[in-house]
């Protein structure tokens, strides 16, 4: 019944749309705008700045800050530009005296209860209220009474609150309700006593909570780990991308001196809109801890000996010369850039080793055709689809940014979401088809109740989590999924629609597949030499005891602890590199800060090693290695571009047994999934705050989530 009601409510207010643009006049200049534009949008189109606080493009219009008021001819009163739709021939006056006075009045009211603590406020220098009061406010205030004080709320360890500064724009409330899908915030009380908060005492928690800081126009919600470390004018901002999230969201890395101070999202409509999740934003402080900054050799007694690069490479060369190519194995780690992967591939092939894998027991996919292992509908395709079947992924934890987009699509387009795997609160309504693989076989037979819905869908989308493909029967399960996709016409060449998608959770895997690295070696074989290129997430028993292990990477984590020789690598903020996301989009990461100690970019280390081995790789700088990349895969040097995929099937069905076991999502703790986040103190705080049962030894009996 509830679902029915919600469906009705979605279409309750629909009225016929005018299709032609209409003309309005902003300060006398004619602008042609769509009829559903608000005055504010029309002004923006005309290039006129209208000050505002509560209006945000990605949130519902609330119209409660009153700052955007403008004068409209033939209207007796000033109107809020954000909530008033345009009408033909409307004459908007943003520079009249009436508008100026009204804005000044609103600003005076906003400042009446806003504390004058800009010098000690973290928002200072990038505060909307500060800027706009300087531009539009009166010179003096007339408010002589006491200012009110409001109790601070608990928004978790990532968001610091000073609620006295709140001007009740309700952006955070709308964000939590509309984007994050957790209606936990609201305004309580009335008049002067209004407060934004949760009413009852509880912690606000979402995987996207860091975005509140960007939304808050004042200093009420600020970045807690960044608190009092830098002022915005001291920061040097580098426009980069974040490879720790498999969608490679665009980010801005703010540095001061040789240190990353904070990470902010950048606008990218087709990837991350303007959100990033908390791990993307806050895990960077793991880059300062547990770092490998010198070459280390493990001695027989278990202690480490520091080596120079020359010595280390010679030790390594000696070890390599002892081993034949067939006894070597190379494993590519989670965050590897295409340059490192290509150099690694070239070097290993030169040494006669073909046992390279993105990950031991990794994703079982063929790199021959791109549409077999990428997200073919693309992330923005979620908004075009009318049905989404998620298999073996908990989107809320695997990719919160994609989850936010799915939620948006469910609300705006009525996207129907089905889930096979562990059920959870995904922030939107979804149908749970089953937890085990038997749901898949039922779906293939057509006996599952969801089959009819899938059949009717015009643009169905199947999203396969990478965890499913890591199962022992991963290939067989993938085969079944592809059979389902074929049966229900998920690829529709006539509408240019390919609905078969793989959601990877590591960019290193995608990079390896893109340059054609296959994983066709026997996982039971016992190699004598293992080269771990930043690979950390593996089980200890996957490495034979007597093997010589080289770990080249950033952190002293699982990989380094097993390694006989450690080579320090640069992390994603310390090297320039290109990354391929789960979409197949190639994006460019930029160097923001120098690498610590002796650490070098991964491809540089491999290049140096090749020279010591006498197998010199033919590239000396980034440009040359990118030519080499273009030789292997020309599309990998087209940045921020998605090469169109084929719209047909290229797979041969695998005859294997599907185990009727539970498909589980493997993310145990969202805040600690990789070496960087495991080393991050902020992420440790989050784990303890949000997920105490799993992550502390001290609070044993607290219900999980």
């Amino acid at each position: 019944m509830l679902k029915l009601c919600q469906k009705i409510s979605r279409h309750f207010k629909t009225s016929s749309r005018l299709l032609n643009n209409i003309e309005v006049f902003v300060d006398g200049t004619p602008v042609s705008v769509a009829p559903d534009y608000s005055i504010l949008q029309a002004c923006q189109k005309a290039g006129v700045v209208v000050p505002h606080f509560c209006f945000h493009e990605r949130l519902a219009v609330s119209g409660n800050c009153r700052m955007c008021i403008v004068e409209i001819e033939k209207m007796p009163k000033v109107m809020t530009a954000c909530s008033m739709p345009v009408s033909p021939g409307m004459r908007i006056n943003t520079k009249s005296e009436k508008t100026y006075n009204a804005r000044g009045g609103v600003m005076e009211f906003l400042l009446a209860n806003h504390p004058l603590d800009c010098p000690i406020c973290d928002q200072g220098g990038e505060c909307d209220l500060q800027d706009q009061s300087a531009l539009y406010g009166y010179k003096i205030g007339r408010f002589m009474e006491y200012k009110r004080a409001v109790e601070d709320k608990n928004y978790g360890p990532l968001v610091a609150t000073v609620m006295t500064r709140c001007i009740h724009c309700t952006r955070c409330i709308r964000f939590y309700e509309e984007v994050a899908g957790i209606p936990i915030l609201g305004t309580t009380g009335r008049g002067r006593e209004t407060e934004v908060g949760t009413y009852v005492e509880k912690m606000v928690h979402s995987e996207l909570s860091g975005n509140l800081v960007d939304l808050c126009p004042v200093g009420a919600l600020t970045n807690a780990p960044y608190a009092f470390t830098a002022r915005p004018w001291e920061l040097r901002n580098v426009m980069s991308i974040d490879p720790t999230d498999s969608i490679t969201p665009s980010i801005e890395i703010s540095c001061k001196g040789g240190e990353v101070k904070r990470v902010l999202p950048r606008l990218h409509e087709e990837v991350n809109e303007e959100w990033i999740h908390d791990r993307s934003r806050h895990a960077f402080d793991g880059l300062k801890r547990q770092r490998l900054n010198a070459c280390l050799k493990k001695k027989a007694d278990g202690s480490y000996e520091e080596l120079t690069w020359k010595d280390a490479l010679e030790v390594l060369a000696e070890e390599v010369s002892k081993t034949s190519g067939n006894d070597m194995v190379g494993i590519i780690g989670e965050f590897m850039d295409v340059e490192a992967v290509v150099a690694f591939r070239d070097l290993m092939y030169k040494l006669g080793c073909e046992n390279i894998d993105a990950k031991k027991n990794g994703v079982k996919l063929s790199p021959d055709f791109r549409n077999n292992y990428l997200m073919n509908s693309r992330i923005s395709g979620i908004e075009e689809a009318d049905l989404l079947l998620v298999i073996g992924a908990n989107l809320r934890l695997d990719s919160p940014v994609i989850n936010a987009r799915v939620r948006k699509a469910t609300v705006l387009n009525g996207l129907n979401v089905g889930l096979i795997g562990t059920d959870d609160y995904l922030t939107y309504d979804h149908t749970h088809l089953g937890t085990s693989t038997s749901a898949l076989t039922d779906l293939l037979k057509g006996t599952h109740p969801f089959a009819k819905t899938l059949e009717k869908a015009k643009f169905p989308m199947i999203l396969v989590g990478a965890n499913v493909l890591k199962r022992e029967d991963g290939e067989a399960v993938n085969s079944v999924i592809q059979e389902i996709a074929k049966k229900y016409n998920v690829i529709k060449p006539e509408s240019n629609w390919n609905g078969y998608n793989v959601l990877h959770n590591e960019v290193g895997t995608v990079a390896a597949l893109e340059v054609g690295i296959t994983s066709e070696y026997d996982p039971k074989a016992k190699p004598k030499f293992m080269y771990l290129l930043g690979a950390d997430n593996f089980k200890p028993d996957e490495i034979p005891d007597d093997a010589f292990v080289v770990y080249q990477g950033t952190h002293g984590d699982e990989g380094a602890s097993r390694a006989n020789l450690i080579l320090p690598g640069a992390s994603y903020v310390e090297k320039s590199g290109s990354y391929v996301n789960t979409d197949g989009r190639v994006s460019l990461g930029k160097k923001a800060i120098p690498a610590p100690g002796q650490a070098k970019a991964d491809w540089e280390i491999l290049r140096a090693l090749s020279e010591v081995l006498g197998q010199t790789l033919p590239y000396d700088n980034l440009q040359e290695i990118r030519y080499r990349i273009a030789e292997l895969a020309p599309h990998l040097i087209k940045y921020d571009y998605v090469e169109p995929y084929s719209l047909s099937w290229h797979t041969v069905p695998v005859k294997g047994e599907v185990n009727k076991t539970v498909i589980s999502d493997f993310i145990d703790n969202f805040y600690m999934t990789d070496a960087i986040s495991r080393a991050s103190p902020t992420m440790a705080k989050c784990s303890e705050a949000f997920n105490p049962a799993r992550n502390t030894n001290f609070v044993p009996e607290v219900p999980i989530r």
């Binding site: 019944m1 509830l2 029915l4 009601c5 919600q6 009705i8 409510s9 309750f12 109790e151 309700e177 209606p183 936990i184 915030l185 609201g186 305004t187 309580t188 009380g189 009335r190 008049g191 002067r192 006593e193 209004t194 407060e195 908060g197 949760t198 009413y199 009852v200 005492e201």
Partner: protein, 255 residues
Amino acid sequence: MLAARHFLRRTFSSALATHRDTAYNNRDTPFDFTEENYQKITTILTHYPPQYKRSATINLLYLAQKQCDGWVPLAAMNKIAKILEISEMDVYEVCSFYTMFNREPVGKYHLQVCGTTPCMIRGAQDIIKTIEHECGIIKDQTSKDGLFTLTEVECLGCCANAPMLQVNGEKVYEDLTPETMKAMIDAWKAGKEPKVGPQNGRTCAEGIQGRTTLKAQPNVWPDRDFAKAKDDYQKRLEAEAQKKKEEAAAAAAKK
């Protein structure tokens, strides 16, 4: 004391805009509507389209307040959110916004004295002082015996009979003086119910010289025999049906 008064000050009759867990009011306090109230809820919900169930929030909050002797516990708000299938925060927002909902327990008699201009001019402050003196409380407090809670409220629409007092949001006492107020409090203390309405003997809002107009019972309804009208209507319907039948018969005969 001043600090305490400030803390307890109920701005617009609500102590705090947030909830504090107490022994008598927390998430786990048992609350459920009575069977009778559930029937009322079913009726209330028929007033709104099914997708706009949330419109019934205020009505349900009133029911809960009545059931819980004049205040709405947190558990009741959560129950309402469940019934209306909305988020708990939505109910908290409504309940904390409206001043007529008490989110803390009140006395058996919740004395709401109007303090708006006409009542103030006619001595509302004296009435408040009398209550404060007689019950041993100040504004926004509950007396120790749990009988009285005093609040000053905005206009309740009895300006012609100012000053006035509303009790438990239901009964209205008008034309008060400190003496009559004292007598009323004594009556309540003695377990009696004072007369509702003007306390100075006049009826309703009559002027000083008594009723001058509308002395006779007005004849609101015109004389009309409803039974006859219904009968006529039936006859007319029958005649029309008969006529149609005849016409149809004539047409058939022609063919």
